[in-house]
């Protein structure tokens, strides 16, 4: 059966729309249009989410996020995330390290309604020769006011799967 033009558009739209969360990111651009990305190589992230309790899929918060990083690494080439599990704790003030933490604030500011997690990045405003900008530090803060777990299968109302959010 021959597809109608509208159906072809619809299939394309559906594919692109559904592809977005699978890819899970887009290139970040700043006001001048330059792309921000890391220097090639390994990006070490310090995962400070704790190793207890054991969650529904048998992981813990830190190992679940570490598994999310491996999923990311399978999709990217020039950089690779290295997730080091560290003792649970808050984000350190400065030092340039990349950290993943639980907190009830975003560096002292409230998350606001409906926000589950926030990622912040610093980048250098000095352009590379190709017009891009270098990301220098990133942190991910999960809202500790929310209920978290790590589980496979259907999503649960009011219980957020940390791996799914981390993959986003």
């Amino acid at each position: 059966m021959r597809n109608k033009p509208g159906q072809r558009w619809a299939v394309l739209l559906t594919a692109l729309t559904l592809a977005t969360p699978l890819v899970g990111y887009e290139l970040m651009r700043i006001g001048e249009g330059g792309i921000i990305y890391w220097n090639n190589g390994n990006i070490t992230m310090s995962i400070k989410l704790g190793t207890t309790p054991i969650l529904d899929d048998g992981s813990n918060f830190s190992s679940s996020v570490q598994a999310a990083m491996l999923q990311w690494n399978a999709q990217i080439a020039n950089v690779q995330f290295v997730g080091n599990i560290a003792p649970a704790g808050p984000a350190t003030d400065g030092g340039g390290g990349n950290e993943i933490v639980f907190s009830d604030t975003v560096f002292g500011k409230a998350f606001g309604t409906n926000t589950l997690a926030v990622a912040t990045s610093y980048y250098s405003t000095a352009r590379r020769s190709n017009g891009s900008y270098r990301r220098t530090q990133s942190d991910i803060i999960f809202n500790s006011n929310r209920t978290w777990n790590s589980y496979r299968g259907s999503t649960r109302v009011g219980v957020h799967d940390i791996r799914r959010v981390a993959i986003h």
Partner: protein
């Protein structure tokens, strides 16, 4: 059924599929937000204004060795749609430029001088971002280049045709670009109509009380 009907039908299906992907919300960068329903957006906001961005001022403060950079956004209020905003109105958000570095909160919409938008303000100064549900609280006003008619878009630039679309996941990247290209701006809500629906929603609870 014509092409537009097909598009609308499938666009809704695609959006619903994204909703089913999880209540964690849809990624825009890596900041994850649960999309609000329209009534929640209206009633959860401290105030709603149609305003133009007048100026942006970046300032930083040290927190230990970490430099936190904030942007203060001065708005010229064109219409108070709900609530009672202070005058003058300055919003403050985490992120901005200081010297040779910039702090960005990934996935949050930016403000640009001259932009005219409808803002659902909540927790200004208290929250890291001053709008309700972050990217779901910002609705740029655009003008049709052909007809001159004003219309409202979502924060990703896709025209808003109905308030029920407020809660749909916000596509990013190529999906958003395709939605923008395929959308018919003549179907989008005008700022006046959107404002009327906001006021009506706000009043519905006031009357119930």
């Amino acid at each position: 059924m014509n092409i537009r009907d097909h598009f609308h039908r499938w666009a809704r299906l695609a959006a619903m599929a994204l909703c089913w992907a999880g209540p964690a919300g849809v990624p825009l960068g890596a900041t994850t937000v649960i999309p609000p329903e329209f009534p929640e957006l209206v009633h959860g906001s401290d105030y709603v204004v149609r305003a133009r961005v007048k100026q942006l001022v970046c300032e930083s403060e040290m927190r230990g060795e970490r430099e936190l950079i904030f942007t203060r956004i001065e708005l010229e209020v064109l219409d108070v749609i709900a609530g009672a905003p202070p005058q003058p109105l300055w919003l403050i958000m985490l992120g901005g430029r200081s010297g040779d570095r910039e702090l960005v909160v990934e996935g949050v919409p930016r403000f640009q001088v001259g932009d005219e938008e409808i803002f659902f303000v909540q927790g200004n100064g208290r929250n890291f971002y001053p709008l309700y549900a972050v990217m779901y609280g910002k609705y740029p006003v655009r003008r049709d280049k052909v007809t001159g008619r004003e219309y409202v878009t979502r924060s990703n630039g896709v025209p808003l045709r109905d308030v029920s679309e407020v809660t749909l996941p916000l596509a990013a990247g190529p999906a958003a670009e395709l939605q923008r290209r395929l959308a018919h701006v003549e179907d989008a809500l005008s700022p006046a109509e959107f404002s009327r629906l906001i006021r009506k929603q706000r009043e519905s609870v006031q009357h119930a009380e």
